[in-house]
């Protein structure tokens, strides 16, 4: 028993004081610091609350996602950034206990309104996941799946074009062009993730959501993906959740900092990292916790 006594418990997560409920802490955080709105937003989140059963995970978030821009969402584990990201293409619909209130719009149309079909929405708002998850099919089939699903191609030659173009845009074509029939799962982790990005691009989405796309990758693969994100910015609106502040600084133009389900601060990435206005943001990016 003395074994346990020798090492004091090192709790890296910020302790939630038991006397205060999460609601009280969130209320004490105050309003979001910085500019949540942009001109001509692609997607717009207004006053969104998310609940898992009775537990509230997101508290009144306002945020815009602009065209041709990468916005990164950072914050400690469990701060709701992934939850918010998954609200943007209604992936949370698959969780029965999850409830979303507030407004999220894509090109001005509410995505949670009755006439919005989640299937169509997900074709317009693509998603790349934390763990590379190619289908256990050939590389070709992986990329061709989306276009085939939505009938984007007229014939086989069309489909071939889409596949090659998507792989090329994802910067993986040169590596796999001679083995398109190999299983997608036979690739290395970094290649798999780029294949997943190619798969997402193949559906010609307007927005790409990335949920910690590099967390399972080594630095070289990460560098390649970051380069790719930068190129993709030309054509898409991109929202990326990341745990790496360096990554946020490298790839994004705007950064949003979340804490316990509350959007604490949002602004230009340069400003946030050099001159954070909220104390929590400063603590986080200087590595004092998180």
């Amino acid at each position: 028993m003395n074994k346990e006594n020798t090492v004091p418990a090192l709790d890296l997560e910020q302790d939630t004081p038991t006397e205060q409920t999460i609601e009280e802490i969130v209320a004490s955080l105050g309003d979001t610091v910085g500019q949540t709105r942009v001109d001509n937003p692609k997607m717009s989140v207004s006053n969104v609350d998310v609940f898992y059963a009775d537990k509230q995970a997101i508290f009144g978030v306002d945020l815009d996602i602009a065209n041709n821009e990468v916005i990164s969402m950072i914050g400690p584990s469990g701060c709701g950034k992934s939850t918010l990201l998954r609200c943007l293409n209604r992936m949370n619909d698959t969780i029965p206990i999850c409830r979303v209130t507030g407004d999220i719009t894509l090109d001005g149309e509410g995505i949670y309104s009755k006439d919005t079909d989640p299937v169509l929405l997900r074709a317009r708002v693509g998603m790349v996941f934390q763990k590379p998850n190619p289908f256990p099919k050939s590389i070709y089939e992986n990329v061709a799946y989306g276009p085939r699903l939505h009938g984007l191609n007229r014939n086989r030659a069309d489909l071939d074009d889409i596949v090659v173009n998507s792989l090329r845009k994802a910067g993986i074509y040169e590596e796999v062009k001679n083995r398109l029939d190999d299983a997608g799962t036979s690739l290395s982790g970094g290649q798999q993730q780029r294949l997943c990005i190619a798969r997402t691009i193949a559906c010609s989405p307007e927005v790409i959501l990335m949920d910690e796309p590099c967390s399972a990758l080594d630095p070289i693969a990460t560098a390649k993906i970051e380069e790719l994100i930068d190129e993709l910015r030309e054509n898409y609106a991109i929202a990326i959740v990341t745990h790496s502040m360096q990554q946020a600084a490298r790839v994004s133009q705007r950064t949003a900092y979340f804490h316990l389900g509350k959007l604490v601060e949002v602004g230009d990435t340069d400003t946030i990292f050099t001159n954070p206005r909220h104390e929590l943001t400063e603590n986080y990016i200087t590595g004092r916790f998180g």
Partner: protein, 444 residues
């Protein structure tokens, strides 16, 4: 014990002075014990596997030794004179008359010709038993195919009766006093004479695979029950597989999680544990008495067995669907696939190997099931080979059950042989399952 000793040593030394070298020493001390434990565990495993394999070997060897003779049949060579008088045939007999003709008389005459000394009624009767009762059907078939044989003497091989063939295979102990023996001394003399004349021969038993059940062991075949089993299993598979997979998909992928689905789930699990004879009673009450489906029919058997197999397949299919990683669902959903497309394009193909395993387990269970089929009349003595789902039929395990009950020596062999056929069908089914699984399995 081990933990105690470890703790007592660690308490003896204050934690502050615990050093790396000390840890090494402790680990080294415990290593031997840890490896010994591992070795012991492996040994238990090997013992368990050896024991189960040897039991299996004993089972298979004993059944094979007992059952193999059933695949051979003893025949007796006879010159049968087919004159119209003996056969009770008039002028220009039609097919019906040919069917009803007295072939037995002709066989008896030819036996008497071989042993002219046999005069007494009792002795004659003993002699007649040399040829199986089924011999007349062989003759009948020959004559009906070619009526010109009437009036001629033909040389035929006819199946030997049960007692004689038992003797020829050494099943009859001649040291037993004659009174207690079914096969008497005079019969032994005659059959030895025939054997010396090369008139007795053992050939492959085609009857066993080409005929249905019979009261005579030498005429009894497995074909009726084998076909009955195949028809019954076909019904079971066609009904239970789609229903079970659809149920599993609905419950796992689409159904809301509420009290109703919980109740359904609990009930499915309970159904899997219901004794199979209860399903037989249910089948009797509903399918036969209420829907008036025919008794002893493979369709009813299949319906009853599907009820029994459904929960097995549903449970394994749900487990297989559950084991498909959520990342695949996310990937497909994220690309804009509808729920149904996610299931049919990705989840179901990935779950297929598991579903097939469950299905084969369920089907194997159904193949070996006897009790519920007794309740719906599939235990009847049925000679004909079933051709349709509504024909009266029996199935392999019931046939084994029936034959095991019969006293004739020939049926003892037949029972083991039928078990061999049943095991053969099982192995074939499993082989198909393995092949299918390999076909559907994908590398991650």
């Amino acid at each position: 014990m081990n933990n105690d000793s470890l703790e007592s040593t660690s308490e003896a030394i204050p934690p502050e002075t615990t050093m790396v070298s000390d840890t090494t020493e402790k680990v080294r001390k415990s290593l031997g014990r840890r490896y010994a434990r591992e070795k012991r565990f492996k040994l238990f495993g090997v013992i368990a596997i050896t024991a189960s394999l040897s039991f299996l070997a004993v089972l298979i060897i004993s059944i094979t030794i007992r059952g193999l003779p059933a695949f051979k049949q003893t025949f007796l060579n006879l010159d049968v004179t087919l004159d119209a008088d003996t056969l009770d045939l008039g002028e220009n007999p039609d097919q019906d008359a040919l069917r009803k003709a007295n072939y037995n008389g002709a066989i008896k005459n030819s036996l008497l010709e071989l042993f002219p000394d046999v005069k007494k009624r009792k002795e004659k009767k003993a002699l007649y038993k040399f040829v199986s009762n089924g011999g007349q059907y062989d003759l009948q078939a020959k004559v009906m195919a070619d009526p010109t044989l009437i009036g001629q003497t033909i040389n035929v091989w006819l199946p030997v009766g049960d007692d004689a063939s038992g003797y020829l295979r050494g099943h009859i102990d001649t040291s037993v006093p004659e009174k207690k023996r079914r096969f008497k001394n005079n019969q032994i003399t005659w059959i030895e004479e025939l054997r010396a004349d090369n008139k007795v021969q053992t050939k492959f038993n085609r009857t066993f695979f080409s005929r249905g059940d019979s009261r005579e062991p030498e005429m009894a075949g497995i074909k009726g029950s084998l076909f009955g089993s195949i028809l019954t299993l076909m019904v079971t598979l066609v009904l239970s597989f789609p229903i079970a997979v659809a149920t599993a998909i609905y419950l796992e992928e689409f159904a809301p999680k509420n009290r109703w689905t919980d109740i359904i789930e609990v009930n499915i699990n309970n159904l899997a544990a219901v004794p199979s004879i209860v399903f037989g009673l249910l089948g009797l009450a509903i399918f036969i008495n209420f829907f008036n489906l025919p008794r002893s029919a493979p369709i009813v058997g299949g319906l009853v067995l599907s009820l029994m197999t459904l929960p097995t397949i549903i449970i394994s299919a749900r487990a297989a669907l559950k084991s498909v990683p959520p990342s695949i669902r996310d990937a497909a959903l994220g690309l804009g696939a509808s729920n149904l497309q996610v299931v049919f394009h990705h989840v179901l193909p990935l779950a297929m190997p598991g579903i097939l395993t469950g299905t084969i387990i369920g089907m194997a269970q159904a193949l070996g099931e006897t009790a519920p089929l007794l309740m719906i009349g599939m235990v009847a003595f049925i000679v004909d080979v079933p051709n349709a789902l509504t024909d009266p039929a029996t199935v392999l395990p019931v046939q084994i059950f029936q034959w095991a009950d019969l006293p004739e020596k020939g049926f003892v062999e037949k029972t083991s042989a039928a078990i061999m056929v049943l095991l053969g069908v099982l192995i074939a089914m499993n082989a198909i399952a393995v092949l299918l699984r390999r076909k559907f399995e994908r590398k991650w």
